[in-house]
C-alpha cells in the first residue's frame, strides 16, 4: 500500500461520493455542485495516473465550462426541488439494473485484470501527446473539430427562438393539455400511480 494507492483511494472516495450525491441529491443546484466535486476528483485521479494534460483539460473543460453550462441550464429552466420532481418512478428498476451491472462489471474486471501487477505510472510529457495528436491522430482530430463546430451550430439553431417571434414569451402549452386525446382518466391514473410509488419509497 503505497502513498500513491492511499491518495488514489482518497480521491476515488471523493469522486464516487460526489457522483452518488449528484444522482441522489434533492436539490438541482446541489447536484450540479456535487457533479463538479466528482469531476474534480476524476481530474485528481488523472493526475495520479500521470496524465497531466488530460487532467488539465478535465479541469478547464468540465469544471470550467460544462459545470457552468449546467448551472445556466438550471437557471434557464425551472429548477424544482424534491424527490417527486427529480426522481422518476423508474427508480427501483434503475437501482436494480445498475447494481446488477456493477456486480457483473466488478466480477469481470477482477477476473480479467486481477492478476495484473501493480506498476508506478511514468510521467508522460505533453509534448509527446501533442506529437501523437498531430501525427497519428490528425485526421480524427480534424473530424472531431468539425463535429464540434457542427454541434455548436446545431445547438444554436435548436435553442434560438424561431424567427418571426417578436420576443414575447410564447404562450406555452402544458404537456397534458397539448395531448387531449390521451384522456384525463389516464393522466389521473398515472398521477395516482406516481403518488403510490413515492409513498412506498418513503
Amino acid at each position: 500500500m503505497t502513498s500513491l494507492d492511499l491518495l488514489f483511494i482518497l480521491f476515488a472516495v471523493i469522486t464516487g461520493g460526489g457522483a452518488v450525491l449528484t444522482v441522489t441529491s434533492r436539490n438541482l443546484v446541489h447536484a450540479a455542485l456535487f457533479l463538479a466535486v466528482s469531476l474534480a476528483g476524476i481530474g485528481m485521479v488523472f493526475l495520479l495516473l500521470q496524465a497531466d494534460f488530460v487532467a488539465m483539460v478535465q479541469a478547464v473543460v468540465y469544471l470550467g465550462a460544462i459545470t457552468v453550462l449546467f448551472l445556466f441550464g438550471l437557471m434557464l429552466t425551472r429548477a424544482p426541488i424534491g424527490r417527486e420532481a427529480l426522481d422518476s418512478r423508474n427508480r427501483p428498476m434503475a437501482m436494480v439494473v445498475s447494481t446488477a451491472l456493477f456486480g457483473v462489471l466488478v466480477v469481470l474486471i477482477v477476473r480479467a485484470f486481477g492478476s495484473f501487477p501493480a506498476v508506478t505510472p511514468r510521467s508522460s510529457s505533453v509534448g509527446d501527446l501533442g506529437m501523437a495528436i498531430f501525427s497519428s491522430w490528425v485526421f480524427p482530430f480534424e473530424v472531431i473539430s468539425m463535429m464540434l463546430l457542427a454541434a455548436l451550430v446545431g445547438a444554436i439553431l435548436l435553442a434560438r427562438r424561431e424567427s418571426g417571434d417578436s420576443g414575447d414569451e410564447r404562450a406555452v402549452t402544458p404537456i397534458r393539455e397539448a395531448l387531449p386525446d390521451r384522456g384525463e382518466v389516464e393522466a389521473e391514473e398515472r398521477r395516482a400511480e406516481l403518488a403510490a410509488g413515492d409513498g412506498g419509497a418513503r
Binding site: S88, N90, M93, A94, V97, S98, A100, L101, V104, V107
Partner: protein
Amino acid sequence: MEVLNYAWLIVALPFVAAGVIAAFGRLMPLKGAEVGISAIAIAWVVAVMIGWQTFVNGPVEAVEQVFWSIPLGGNILIEFGQYVDGLTAMMLVLVTTVSFMVQLYSREYMHGEDRFTYFFAMLSLFTFSMLVLVVAPNTLQALVGWELVGVCSYLLIGYYWLEKTNSDAANKAFLTTKFGDIGLVVGIIVLSVGVSAHTDNVFSIRETTELAAAGMLSQPTIVLGCLLIFLGAMAKSGQMPLHVWLPDAMAGPTPVSALIHAATMVTAGVFLIARLYPVFAQSLAVMNTMAIVGTITLFFAGFVAIVQDDIKKVLAYSTISQLGYMVAALGVGGYTAGIFHLFTHGFFKALLFLGSGSLIHAVHSNNMSDMGGMRKYMPTTFVTFVIGSLALAGFPLFAGFFSKDEVLVSAQIWANNGRFTGSLVFWLGLAGAMVTTFYMGRSVFLIFFGTHRGVAHTPEDVEAEAEAGTLDDEAEMEDLDQAAHDADGADLTQEEVVAAGHDDDHAPDHGGHHLPHESGWQILTALVVLAALSFPVGLMGGFLWDEVGGSVERNFETWTATHLLEEVSYPFLADYHRVDLEELHGGGEGEGHAEEGAGDHADEGAGEGEAAGLAGTDHTTLAAGSDLVLATEAEGAEGGVENRVLHGAPEFHLNVFLLALGGFLLAVGGAWMIYGRSRPMRDPLLHMGGFTTLLENKYYFDDIGYRGVVVPVRDWLAPAASWSSNVILDGIVKNTGGAVKRLADVTYFTIDQKVIDGGINGGAFSAAWISSKLKRLQSGDVQRYAGAMLAGVIVLVVVFAAAR
C-alpha cells in the same frame, strides 16, 4: 480465370451509374435512363462472362480478393472485397439479367413520371446493393449489402409516397425486414464469436463455412447463430409469419415489384442461407426449422393467392409460396434444388411481373376483374405471360418444372433418410404445386380469355375524361349504372354493358375509351427475352440437359457446387449409410443401388424402390455427368458413413414426375372448369369458397331425383293413385330436399362459419388482444427502454461468461 477478378466491375457499374444519374440525370436527353441501362448492360456482359467461365470450369476454388480493409482494433477487420464462385456467378447472372430487363422495361413503363430520374438512380442503387451482398466475402459486407437493399426497397416501394397507403407499405416493409435484421446482426455476431476461437478472420464466410464443415464450431453456436440468421432471412425472404410486408410492397411501381420479387430483395435471404449452407447443415434443428417454416409458407401462401383479384397480389403471394419452396428445399438438404428454384423463379417471376405491368399499363387497373379477353389486344404479352405461368406452374419442359421437381426429389430423398420433414415437404409441396397451378390458371383465364370488361371506365379514366372536358361524366356514369342493372336483371353480357355505356358517347375519338393495346418495343423486348430465357435456365439444371445438347459434365449442379459442399457432412445423419448417398446421386450407381436398396431399405416401399430402380437403369447416362464431381464422395463412401450435403445431379424420378404432372393437369382442369369454360359474372371462389364442388353435386342430385322419382310418379302412378300417394311421395321429395338443405346449412353454419371463420377470426382477435396488451411495453418511457436494454446486456454477459 482472369475474368473472375473483374466481378467488382459488376458491382461498381450500377453504383457509378446511380451517382451519375443522381447528379446529371436531369440534364440528359433520356433523363438518366440511358446511363442506368448502359451501365447494367455492361455489367450484364461481364456477369455472363463470369457465369460462363465458372460454368465451363465446374466447381472451382472461389476467387477471394480484398480491396479495402478497415481495422477495427484487435484482430477484427472490416473488409470489402469479392468472393466469386459458382453460386456468386449464378446470382450475378440472375441479378444483372433481371435488372437489365427491368430497367429497359422501366424506360417505357415509367415514361413521363415526375421523378423518372430519381427512379432510375434508385434502380441502379438497388441493383448495386444486392450485388454488394452477392459478392460479399464476409458477413459484414453481406450485412452492408443487406441493409442497403432494405433501404433501397423502402425508397422504391414508397415511390408514390404522396398516397398514405404507399408510404405505409414502405414503412411496413422496412420495419418488418428490420425486425429480421436484428436477428441477422446478432446471428452474425454469435457465429463470429464461435469462429474467433479458431481464426482471426472472424467474419470471413470462407473461414466460417470451412470451420463448420470440419466440425470445429460448437453445436449451440451453430444452432443459435443459424436460427438468428434464419430469422433475418425469413423477414427478407417473406417466410410465413414475417411475409406480411411482401404483398403490401406491391404499392411500388411494377418494375420495382419485379426487381424485388425476382432478383434483389427476397432472394437475399435464400442466398445468404445458401452461402452459409455448410454451417446450416450442421444442425438438424436448424434444418427442421427451415423445412417447416418453408413448408407452411409454400402451402398457405398459395391459398391466399387464389382469392386475390389484384393481379400483382396474386403474384406476390405466389412469390411467397415459391420462396417457401426454396427455403423448404434448403431445409431438406436440397442445396442445389433450393438455389436452382431461386434461379429459375427469378426469371419467370420477373417475366410474370413485367407481363402484369404491361397489362396494367394497358388497362390502368390492377384488378383482374377489369381485364378479360386481353389475348386479342395484347398477343405478345399473352404468349409471354402464359409461358411464365406455365413455368411457374411447373408444366413439363418449362423452367419451374425442373426446379420444382428437384425440390420434391430432394424432399423424397430426405424422407428416405428417415426424416419426417422430407415427407412433409414432399406432400405439401405437391399440394402447393397444385394450388400454384390453379391460381395461375385462374389468372390466365380471367385476364386473357372471355370478353373485355369495360376497363376504360375505371374511376381514374372517368376522372381524366371529366378533366379533359370531353365527356359528360355524370351522364356516362348513370348510363353505366343503368347498364349494369340491366346486366344483372336481364343477364346481359359484359360486352353489351360496355356497348350500352358507349351508346350516348358523343365524342367520337377521345382518349379514354380506346381498347387496350399492346405495349411498346421496350416492354415487349424485356418480356420476350425473359420468356426465351425461361427455357434454358430450366433445362440446364434438369435431367434433360444432355438430351438437348448440353454437356453432361457441365450443368447447374456442377456450376453452383463447391469443393467445400462436397466435404461437408450432416453430423446428425451419421447413422445412415451408403444407400443414402446413392439415393442422393442415383444414376451413376444405379445398379448398385438396386441391390442395396433391396437389402438395406426393403422397408422403403415398393413404389419408391421401383422408381429408384427405374432411375438407375434408364438414366445411367443422364446422371453420369455427376460422376466427376461426385467421385470424391463415392470414394469416401467406402469408408462407411454417407451423409453429404445434398446437391445431387439432376435425375429423373418417375413417381415424382407423374405426381407433379397429375397435380398440374388436375389443377389446370379445375381452373378451366371454373374460369375458362364459362365466364361467371361473380367469381365463385370469392363467394362460395370450397362449396363449388358441393354445388355441382347438389345440381346432379336434383337432376337425378327429378328424372328418377318425379317423372315416373307423375306419368305412371299419379293418374291412378290417390292424393295420399302424392302426399307420401311429395313428403319424401320434400324431406329429401329439406335434409339436403339442413345438411348444407349445418355444413355452412358449423364448419364454415364456426370452425373455419371462427378459427381465422379467433386468430385475428387473439392477435389483437395480445397486441393490445403487448403495446403497453411501448410506454414511451425512454428510461424504461434503457433499463430493459441494459438488463438484456447483463443477461447476455452472464450467459456468455457462464458458457466459457
